[in-house]
């Protein structure tokens, strides 16, 4: 500790160089932490997918729907336990008009207040999701009310919704909009999830009756997707093939995949995304390593006489080497702290800024929290970069002879 002021004074001496190196390193750690957090969130989301659930969609694109008649035909395929029409509604809350205190038919839509919302066939759908936990009386109330909706705890907390509250939603998808204005919903249930048992379960979502949507738009509507539960998860691949074969010669061919694969596809091929994000992180880290190593080499080169003086005064080569490595580690420590702080800040802004948080919701990311493991790893990377950058010049100082260093001024 008695050498710390000595190290800090050297870092302060060339504060522009120190500052820019710390900044460069912090950018690296910032990217590392942020990208790893995004990946962790995506993985958690994918891990929450059930192994026994399949999603059937139009083989051309998610944008195209599927005939309602497909539901019964899928149900008839051997091995299929349940089928539920599952249609992504994509609603947003209406904005209050100036001078009006109530939301309603005459309000405009505030697209930044996006609510992840799904129209489903309630009974088969929720039977497939034991992780969603309802109070029995709320469940009964939801089934009895066509306008009823069940909302996840996170969403309820976000808008401070309680049982019995009314609100309006309008979809950004034209076929799901009605001429008379937004759909009105009544909160009939708030569900929770046991995150210890089912990690990654999303409670920032609402569900309502598909029938309400169907009738609201004049009974002129197909199914967005079908969620299918299979009796034996080991047969999922065979059943997926059987479902797609069933509709092979129809106008709307299907693509059936596991819920995990479907979600991965939904968030832009998460497998490749992981590779891309890790690749970016690695490339940036390597670049920063070179920058920091260069900075440290320059710093040591400039101080050859000083190192010789320290050795002459009785500082051992190992101690001199330790001082240089400690200086580089301090750069790493500062860079790590700034990078992790910056990552925390950007995540807070992303999840608390209207518009940005809704943009994340559209790709299925309901939260972004820097996990402690990622923060520790970020610090470890910062310290490693510091050590790696400082080691070579420190080794040079260790090996250099006093008389040689005194000769080169």
């Amino acid at each position: 500790m008695k050498f710390l002021p000595f190290i800090l004074k050297h870092l302060r001496k060339n504060w522009i160089r120190t500052g820019s190196t710390v900044l460069a390193m912090s950018v690296c750690i910032f990217l590392f932490c942020t990208l790893q957090t995004v990946l962790a969130e995506i993985n958690a989301m994918l891990e929450s997918s059930g192994a026994s659930r399949l999603v059937v969609r139009n083989s051309i694109s998610l944008v195209f729907d599927l005939p309602l008649a497909y539901g019964a035909r899928i149900q008839a395929i051997p091995g299929v336990k349940r089928v539920a029409n599952t249609t992504w509604f994509g609603g947003s809350l209406p904005a209050k008009k100036e001078g009006k205190s109530e939301e309603g038919d005459d309000s405009t839509t505030d697209w930044s207040r996006f609510v992840p919302s799904m129209a489903v066939e309630a009974e088969p759908y929720f039977a497939m999701y034991p992780e969603l936990d309802f109070k029995p009386e709320e469940w009964r109330g939801f089934l009895a009310d066509l306008q009823g909706t069940v909302i996840g705890r996170k969403l309820a907390n976000k808008y401070n919704w309680k049982i019995g509250d009314h609100f309006f939603l309008e979809s950004f998808i034209p076929p799901y909009r009605k001429a008379s204005g937004p759909f009105e919903f009544v909160v009939r249930g708030i569900f929770d999830a046991d995150l210890n048992k089912y990690p990654g379960t999303d409670t920032n979502v609402m569900f309502f009756h598909y029938k309400y949507l169907y009738e609201g738009v004049g009974q002129n509507l197909n199914a967005g997707t079908y969620t299918v539960e299979v009796a034996d998860p080991s047969q999922a691949a065979a059943i997926s093939k059987a479902i797609d074969a069933q509709f092979e010669n129809s106008d709307s061919q299907t693509l059936t995949e596991t819920e995990k694969a479907f979600r991965a596809g939904f968030i832009s091929m998460a497998g490749n995304l992981a590779l891309l994000l890790n690749g970016i992180g690695l490339a940036v880290s390597f670049t920063i390593l070179l920058v920091t190593a260069n900075t440290m080499s320059m710093a040591v080169r400039e101080r050859r006489t000083e190192i010789a003086v320290l050795k002459t005064l009785g500082f051992s080569s190992a101690r001199v080497m330790g001082l240089i490595v400690a200086e580089a580690l301090t750069l790493g420590l500062l860079g790590g702290a700034v990078g992790i702080g910056g990552s925390q800040l950007i995540m807070y802004l992303l999840t608390h800024t209207p518009g940005l948080s809704d943009m994340l919701l559209t790709i299925g990311l309901t939260s972004l929290t820097l996990p402690a493991g990622v923060a520790i790893m970020g610090f470890a990377v910062a310290l490693f970069l510091g050590f790696a950058a400082g080691f070579v010049p420190a080794w040079g100082a260790y090996r250099a002879r006093i008389t040689d260093m005194l000769r080169t001024v």
């Binding site: 002021p5 050297h10 320290l310 009785g314 500082f315 051992s316 002879r401």
Partner: protein
């Protein structure tokens, strides 16, 4: 007691395949408390001999014993520890650490001791008082004149109470007045603090302050010009 005992020392540098003999068969004994000046033309091996005495270089052959220790037998780390306890080095160009204040520079060798922070600072301030720079303790080297910088460097050299002070042309970069002050100071350290001093110099006036002058030419000690009346 002989403080510095150099026996049959030879120092050869290799440059590519060529061998350059810098010192050849040096015999030098410096009794405790003596002030010796090493003189000679450039390239005669003065600084090399000083470096061997200070333990920052090793002889090719022969023996260098300082304060009773054969420095050639010590490992690198043991030699570093030995230097911190036995030798104070004064450079021609002062070589103060620019980011440290005068008192911090003087305190630097004490970081290698077990002294507490307060004790280190107290000793460093005392050393600065001895060299007459107590009022400049918190100035940085760039805020000091050359003579003042050298006085701080001298304070740094003796703050650890070493047995031997070695000085490599301590007045070589100074004007006549500052050089005079530095030599006065070195005489004081020798006379009042009983420090054994070995000083390399080109300057005959500086050499005149020493008790004994030794002349090197082409790596060989050529005479024994003992100054009369110096004691």
């Amino acid at each position: 007691m002989t403080m510095v005992d150099v026996r049959g020392v030879r120092k050869v540098y290799k440059r590519d395949t060529q061998e350059i003999t810098v010192l050849d068969g040096i015999e030098l004994q410096v009794p405790e408390g003596e002030f010796v000046a090493l003189m000679g033309p450039s390239g005669s091996g003065k600084t090399t001999l000083l470096n061997l005495i200070a333990g920052i270089d090793r002889p090719t052959s022969g023996q260098v014993t300082v304060a009773g220790t054969d420095v050639g037998q010590l490992s690198e780390s043991a030699l570093a520890t030995w230097r911190s306890q036995n030798v104070g080095f004064i450079f021609q160009f002062y070589n103060l650490i620019p980011v440290l204040t005068a008192v911090e520079n003087v305190e630097l060798p004490l970081l290698l001791t077990n002294l507490g922070r307060g004790q280190r600072r107290e000793r460093a301030l005392t050393a600065l008082k001895v060299v007459g720079l107590a009022d400049r303790a918190h100035h940085y080297p760039r805020q000091l004149s050359g003579g003042q910088e050298q006085r701080v460097a001298i304070a740094r050299a003796f703050v650890g109470d070493p047995k031997v002070l070695v000085a490599d042309e301590p007045t070589g970069d100074l004007d006549a007045k500052s050089a005079h002050e530095i030599l006065e100071l070195m005489e004081t350290l020798n006379r009042d603090f009983k420090k054994t001093i070995v000083m390399v110099t080109h300057d005959p006036r500086a050499a005149d302050r020493a008790h004994k002058q030794r002349h090197l030419e082409k790596g060989v000690l050529v005479d024994d010009a003992v100054k009369t009346g110096a004691y």
